[in-house]
Symmetry: C2
Subunit: 291 residues, 2 copies
């Protein structure tokens, strides 16, 4: 494919299904369901429909952190949504999230089910419901929510911008890679400066802001995403790395990152999570492999 300055967009955009690169089959210009299928419902109050992308990890980390704090009401079933297969376009999924993106949560603990979509909204919902990981002091609370919203508004430039054009688009388009690499580096520097002055994003305490930012920017700084560690010189962001390592060492984070994971080391993949003991089985698998 060649892009030249002579290209002129048509008067009215037309859906060309041949375009789109690696994710062409799941990108559509229309919303709504493509097929009728109900979602499964398990035994716990919270039903999560997700996949272990950075957005998915945010919520499973939060749920595991809540359980580690002793909040039994945070028990959950985590069902796998294979976005490559179009599971997010089922009628059941669209009822929970009309935007057809993971993660989506249904809280069945009350008299009528409550749907919650968008990872940031789910983190906030759980934080408010359980009174945890969201400061109550006005200044620290504002700082936490500002960084949470910062993540939601910034990561599309990292994922849908840089990641797409650097790793997934059918051709390498220099202008687009350059534009989004610059913005991604700026975002990493924003975080690095904040984490030079503060242990966590909102202050001395670990909050939902850290849980939202770490899977995206911690993973990027660790060189895990898009094979772009060297390209973005991620070793420069030393405070991000210090903070990410501290969070990644938490047992609840280790568990949360395993849930709904379907790639990488098989002993780190817990395709679905329906019971706290599900992790034990995986740990035994791992020990058996290592011995």
């Amino acid at each position: 494919m060649t892009e030249t300055s002579e290209y002129t967009p048509p008067k009215v955009w037309v859906w060309n299904k041949a375009n789109g690169g690696q994710f062409a089959s799941i990108n559509r210009p229309i919303a709504g369901p493509t097929h009728d299928k109900d979602l499964p419902v398990g035994k716990h109050p919270l039903q999560l429909y997700s996949l272990a992308t950075p957005n998915g990890q945010k919520v499973t980390i939060m749920l595991e952190e809540l359980l580690a704090l002793g909040h039994k009401g945070a028990e959950y079933d985590a069902w796998l949504i294979k976005i490559g297969d179009g599971d997010q376009f089922s009628s059941g999924f669209v009822e929970v999230n009309p935007n057809s993106k993971i993660p989506a949560l249904m809280d069945r603990s009350g008299p009528k089910p409550v749907r919650v979509f968008e990872s940031g909204s789910i983190l906030f919902y759980l934080a408010e419901k359980f009174g945890a990981f969201l400061p109550t002091d006005p200044a620290t609370r504002a700082e936490c929510m500002s960084w949470l919203f910062w993540q939601m508004g910034s990561a599309p430039y990292l994922g849908g911008g840089f990641g797409h054009f650097y790793a997934y688009a059918p051709t390498k388009i220099e202008y687009a890679i350059d534009r989004f690499a610059m913005e991604t580096k700026r975002q990493l520097d924003v975080l690095d400066r904040r984490l030079a002055e503060s242990r966590y994003l909102s202050g001395n305490d670990y909050t939902i802001a850290d849980m939202a930012v770490m899977p995206w920017y911690g993973g990027l700084a660790k060189g895990w995403q898009y094979g772009a560690g060297e390209f973005l010189a991620v070793h420069e962001y030393k405070n991000v790395l210090r903070w990410a390592d501290e969070i990644l060492a938490r047992p609840a984070v280790k568990r949360g990152r395993m849930v709904n994971r379907i790639s990488g080391d098989p002993s780190e993949q817990l395709h679905e999570r329906h019971d706290a003991n599900d992790f034990e089985t995986k740990t035994q698998d791992k020990l058996a492999v290592q011995s």
Copy 2:
């Protein structure tokens, strides 16, 4: 500029200041201030530093709605931040928003100032502070917050994706325009389906979710943004248009949209807002021009 499939990114990305299109001068790969300058501080409890972009309008609409409800504590000074001139990189602005984007709010009503950044975070902060425009029933509250977060995570594809490549990039890149046009249309359809079943985004009541979504997607549906109305066939989204027209008719929304505006009809531009009477003066100007 020609993009070919032979382009191979370098091992390590390098800042080429010649790239970047219309906004090259304000896009940087590093954060932090570029110059020392304090922000002005006016007489009111709330100090807003902003510009009447869609993100800026969200907050001035909210403040005008709060004042219309009788919340005198929502009195504010709105200072102009000219992002084309780099005002967002002053040391004073970076202290309020380390991400160097408008809008940024300083609440000086308490014993120590509270900074709030990211438009979604500011809307939430004000809603919580004044107990307004954010439902308290758990299901409706979750719906409101989900749509608020939806807007924050979706609009980068509209603004930083579609708008940039369709209207501002130095060359028209077919793949990028196509990718982001498809996603923008999908987002409009998500909203259109929701607004077919519900008067407002979270239900029967007008909330911060509507205030966040309307300046972006209402403006787009009205054909105001990027000259892209025909290209995106925005007339198809009839429920979005019905909802946008209803909101745009609100007096507080009309006032909010004027604040920090520096383009378009001069009688609609209130460069800075320091007093409720500032709008009256503009209305008199307009009547004088029309008579």
